[in-house]
């Protein structure tokens, strides 16, 4: 059957219009369950599955679980026939330093509900942090401001974020190693999956590195710029999947990336760079004294803004997207749920653009800072 162009447009338009009828969040089934079990509960994270939750605190818990780190890799959870919560996923190892190295699997925590006993010490997870508790089956003691007073052992476990960093590193390694190898095998032309990334690598070199750093010195920084670009891009894209992987939305991760940029600018800077900071040429002498502390502060604030920009963009995007998806469950009619579905779809398209854009901005600003660090000394009329 061959349709003409106008008929095809009409068919597609009809399908798009009928689509809201199929966008179900199963409103009637959910409302029955909620009305039977719902007890208005306080905003706490340790809700047992037997108690009912009203939908708003459940959404808050869902958003929190997506944004925070966790000690096990929970792919999804469902309620089986007995009404208990079943989880599909695997536990990650927990490594603590508490007068000796203690390594154990996070399955001992039973998803944050029980106390783990290791070598006579007891540990408990509270708000995604591990605390040492005294007796078996005890909880952390909270002081007046609801902060725990137990000590925290030194924690360098493999959490979900660390695990995802390793996964992305391995993906990048095999992807680009395969791309580099395919050049030798095929006589100068790339082949395989890496072909898609060749123009992007060239773009980073020709549009980001060379204009900002200059022809003489850009090669030293290319490896770092490429690593940062693809690392941030892949991690942002992974954050948009429903598994709750939120690495760039963790301020420690972005702080480390910004710190590395700062260290590279500081330790590969030429004398002119420091000369320009402390003794800005071309301004009268009293201004030079005023500008020196401001410029020095500027060297810290520029990487700091890199950290905040990436963190805030990603976290804010995730919160908005999760809230809109949760809105789909709060509205229990056809129109409200379908409208919020389309809105969250549009916002997730924007989030995919933001993933690439934030990686590009981080890389470009890093290249800009490197460029100002290795800038050649040029004479202008103010110099004598």
């Amino acid at each position: 059957m061959v349709f003409s162009k106008k008929q095809l447009h009409f068919i597609i338009a009809t399908l798009v219009v009928i689509l809201p009828l199929f966008s179900f969040a199963n409103p009637s089934v959910d409302s029955i369950n909620d009305s039977k079990n719902s007890i208005p509960s306080n905003k706490t994270e340790h809700l047992e599955s037997k108690e009912g939750k009203d939908i708003k605190s459940e959404i808050k818990e869902f958003i929190d679980h997506h944004l925070k780190d966790s000690y096990d890799f929970n792919i999804f959870g469902y309620k089986n026939e007995k009404g208990e919560q079943e989880h599909v996923g695997f536990s990650l190892p927990v490594m603590l330093w508490d007068n000796g190295l203690k390594v154990f699997s996070s399955s001992k925590f039973h998803h944050g509900e029980q106390t783990a006993e290791v070598d006579g010490n007891f540990y408990r997870v509270h708000h995604a942090k591990i605390y040492k508790v005294d007796k078996k089956n005890a909880d952390v003691t909270l002081n007046a401001e609801h902060e725990p007073t137990n000590i925290k052992p030194l924690d360098f476990s493999i959490t979900k974020n660390v695990f995802m960093i390793f996964v992305v590193a391995l993906i990048m390694f095999f992807l680009f190693k395969g791309l580099a190898k395919s050049y030798t095998k095929n006589g100068g032309i790339a082949s395989g999956v890496g072909r898609f990334f060749e123009p992007i690598v060239l773009y980073v070199r020709d549009e980001i590195a060379i204009p900002n750093i200059g022809e003489k010195h850009y090669k030293k920084y290319m490896s770092y710029l490429l690593t940062i670009f693809f690392f941030v891009w892949f991690l942002n894209i992974f954050g948009l999947t429903p598994f709750g992987i939120n690495v760039t939305g963790n301020i420690a991760v972005t702080a480390c990336l910004a710190l590395i940029t700062y260290l590279i600018t500081t330790f590969t800077a030429k004398k002119d760079y420091w000369g320009h900071i402390f003794w800005m040429p071309g301004v009268p002498v009293p201004m030079k004294f005023i500008l020196a502390p401001i410029e020095l502060l500027g060297t810290f604030i520029k990487p700091f803004s890199l950290m905040i920009r990436l963190y805030a963009n990603i976290v804010a995007g995730h919160i908005v997207l999760m809230s809109l998806i949760g809105l789909m469950f709060i509205f229990k009619n056809w129109i409200g749920s379908s409208l919020s579905f389309f809105l969250s779809f549009a916002i997730s398209m924007i989030e995919i653009l933001v993933a690439l854009l934030q990686a590009y901005i981080f890389t470009m600003l890093s290249a800009l800072y490197f460029g100002s660090a290795v800038e050649e000394h040029h004479h202008d009329e103010a110099h004598h």
């Binding site: 905040i308 920009r309 804010a316 590009y360 901005i361």
Partner: protein, 63 residues
């Protein structure tokens, strides 16, 4: 959330919106004057928009 915090957050968003709107408008004018420079103008516009958004988000988090 208290009222001053909410008002502050709204002001920050207004500032960011005005800034990015002005950049978008100037970019439109520039593209209309010289359509062959569209690529460079778009790149510069996106960079400036991301910088302003960075400040906007940072202030929003502080609020």
């Amino acid at each position: 959330m208290e009222i001053p915090k909410i008002v502050g957050a709204g002001l920050v968003v207004i500032g960011a919106g005005i800034g990015i709107g002005r950049i978008g408008g100037s970019a439109m004018d520039a593209i209309a004057r010289q359509p062959e420079a569209t690529g460079k103008i778009q790149t510069a516009m996106l960079i400036a928009a991301a910088l302003i958004e960075g400040i906007g988000f940072a202030a929003l988090f502080a609020v």
